[in-house]
């Protein structure tokens, strides 16, 4: 290398020797104990136009949903929209699990009419915005089901029947 390139290289590496260890150690120290939802989730929300759920509003329902030996703690929150949050204590033993809402029975045939809420991959908190039709269904005697689906074989792994509620009331 010519002298000026050597000098550039020396200063570039010195700068990287400060910047990169700082970035690496910060990224490791600040990572949450429970891994965040994988990056697969965000595109799913965006694709389904269900993104930007914030989980603010009145708590309507809190429930526990045992699935595959772990427990999904769920909350339905009514704010400007109806939002569902699910906290997975452990990652599900399932490749790329997807969460659907269905107004009818949880059969494979009904999956075609079910609405995709998003990915349930990884442990931690997952938030979804439920479609308006789900809000209407929740106020009816048939509030519908949450379906946990394996996309590999389009199999319904587990389902959870949502309890009906009346506006203003809380159930648990």
């Amino acid at each position: 290398m010519i002298s000026s390139r050597r000098q550039t290289h020396r200063w570039l590496m010195t700068a990287l020797a400060v910047l990169l260890p700082w970035l690496a150690v910060s990224a490791l120290l600040q990572r949450p104990e429970i891994p965040p939802v994988t990056s697969t989730a965000a595109p799913l929300f965006a694709r389904s136009d269900l993104g930007a759920a914030e989980g603010e509003g009145d708590l309507l329902v809190a429930f526990d949903w045992p699935v595959q030996g772990t427990r999904l703690k769920g909350q339905l929150v009514l704010g400007e929209t109806l939002q569902l949050s699910l906290i997975a204590e452990q990652p599900l033993n399932l490749a790329d699990p997807l969460l659907y809402w269905s107004s009818t029975a949880g059969t494979t045939e009904s999956l075609a009419q079910a609405q995709l809420l998003g990915s349930l991959a990884g442990a931690g908190t997952h938030r979804y915005r439920l479609p308006v039709v789900a809000l209407r269904a929740l106020r009816s005697p048939q509030p519908g089901l949450l379906l946990l689906v394996s996309p590999l074989d389009q199999r319904i792994v587990a389902s959870w029947e949502l309890p009906p509620f009346s506006v203003g009331g809380k159930r648990s």
């Binding site: 290289h9 590496m13 910060s26 490791l28 990572r31």
Partner: protein, 365 residues
């Protein structure tokens, strides 16, 4: 040497180099995927084969990038590593190819098959790359989804690390696309080297891609320790070799009023080797051949390699990087080659070596 250039100048040495490279990469990929399948079967968990292939190719690219970037400083620290240096560009191109497969997978584009009402043929080893696997669930084009889906720029855990990968891959593409001697010759070595120094920017982006991506979800302390060790290793050898070079560059020799520079006693230069000194802003390699001394620019015209670290064969110094040769007396490459480097007047004065300024301009044989 560059007696005109052809598409690829294959030699037995290059074929062996590339053969070892391909075999090593293939073995790594097969081992990674084989162990993953074995582990999944033993633990009775479903294996996400596309995700596993994405990780195999991504980790192969990341490891090979570390190896590629280690060769330069290792060759500065120990001449044994010069043998890895001469075909290092093929390693760099391989890093780009592995990175590209990590993103794209072994997947043919839908067109032109869709125009004929057909589906694109599948390779037996086909898999979806990261772009389609994580961004093709809905109606948005995967590339649009990649750039618009995640806006958590102020959050380490949710940072859109994919964009750092895009930066790294773009830099690697630029390096691979301009790696041929065609570009080296037409851009000139200093410009070409300056462009290729961007690989360190690409490396920084890829370090961010890994630490803010894979290491946020995979919390194995061993994996974190391994990736951190790779980073520290690369930084350490670059800094050590860089600051050792500074020991020469930081102490340029002074020219006396007569235009000559005293280099010390001739015995201080090993026979058949060179002493490298900094003079007038650049380096000069002063070779001793028995009782004769020659001084020429230390900068090879091909890739600016360090001629002073080369061997002398039949009166020519051979660049340790790629074997370019220059006659000690004239600085010109032997016919039919056309490269040449400046030489310096040398005199022996009371057993001491002195070189003069200005240098003689390079001239072809």
């Amino acid at each position: 040497m560059s007696h005109g250039y052809v598409a690829v100048q294959w030699t037995r040495r290059k074929l062996i180099y590339d053969g070892v490279l391909l075999a090593g990469v293939s073995a790594y990929l097969l081992l990674f995927m084989g162990i993953s399948h074995w582990w999944a079967a033993a633990a009775n968990v479903p294996l996400e084969t596309d995700g596993e292939a994405i990780r195999a190719y991504g980790s192969a690219a990341y490891i090979l990038l570390h190896l590629t970037l280690s060769i330069g400083p290792l060759a500065r620290l120990n001449p044994l590593f010069h043998t890895l240096l001469f075909n290092r560009r093929h390693m760099g191109v391989m890093v780009f190819l592995l990175g590209f497969l990590h993103v794209n997978g072994w997947h043919l584009p839908k067109e032109p098959w869709s125009w004929l009402g057909q589906r694109a043929p599948q390779f037996p080893w086909s898999f979806h790359g990261a772009l389609n696997w994580y961004n093709d669930f809905g109606n948005r084009e995967p590339l649009v989804s990649l750039f618009t889906s995640n806006g958590h720029f102020n959050d380490f855990a949710l940072f859109p690390f994919e964009l750092l990968g895009v930066i790294g891959l773009a830099v690697l593409f630029a390096m691979a696309a301009t790696s041929h001697d065609f570009w080296l010759t037409n851009l000139t070595a200093p410009v070409w080297k300056a462009i290729h120094m961007a690989v360190y920017v690409g490396y920084a982006a890829l370090v961010g891609h890994v630490f803010l991506g894979a290491l946020q979800t995979n919390q194995s302390p061993w994996l974190a320790a391994l990736v951190l060790a790779g980073l520290l290793w690369l930084l350490a050898i670059h800094l050590i070799s860089g600051w050792r070079e500074w020991a020469i560059d930081g102490h340029p020799l002074q020219v006396d009023s007569s235009g000559w520079v005293d280099l010390g006693p001739m015995d201080a230069i090993p026979d058949g080797r060179a002493k490298v000194v900094a003079l007038a802003g650049e380096r000069v390699a002063v070779f001793r051949q028995g009782s004769e001394v020659f001084a020429l620019s230390n900068v090879c015209q091909h890739q600016n390699g360090p001629l002073g670290e080369g061997r002398v064969v039949d009166g020519c110094v051979v660049c340790p990087w790629h074997g370019y040769e220059y006659r000690l007396e004239t600085g010109a490459s032997p016919p039919p080659f056309s490269e040449c480097v400046p030489t310096f007047p040398v005199e022996l004065h009371q057993g001491r070596v002195r070189i003069g300024l200005p240098p003689r301009p390079p001239k072809q044989a």
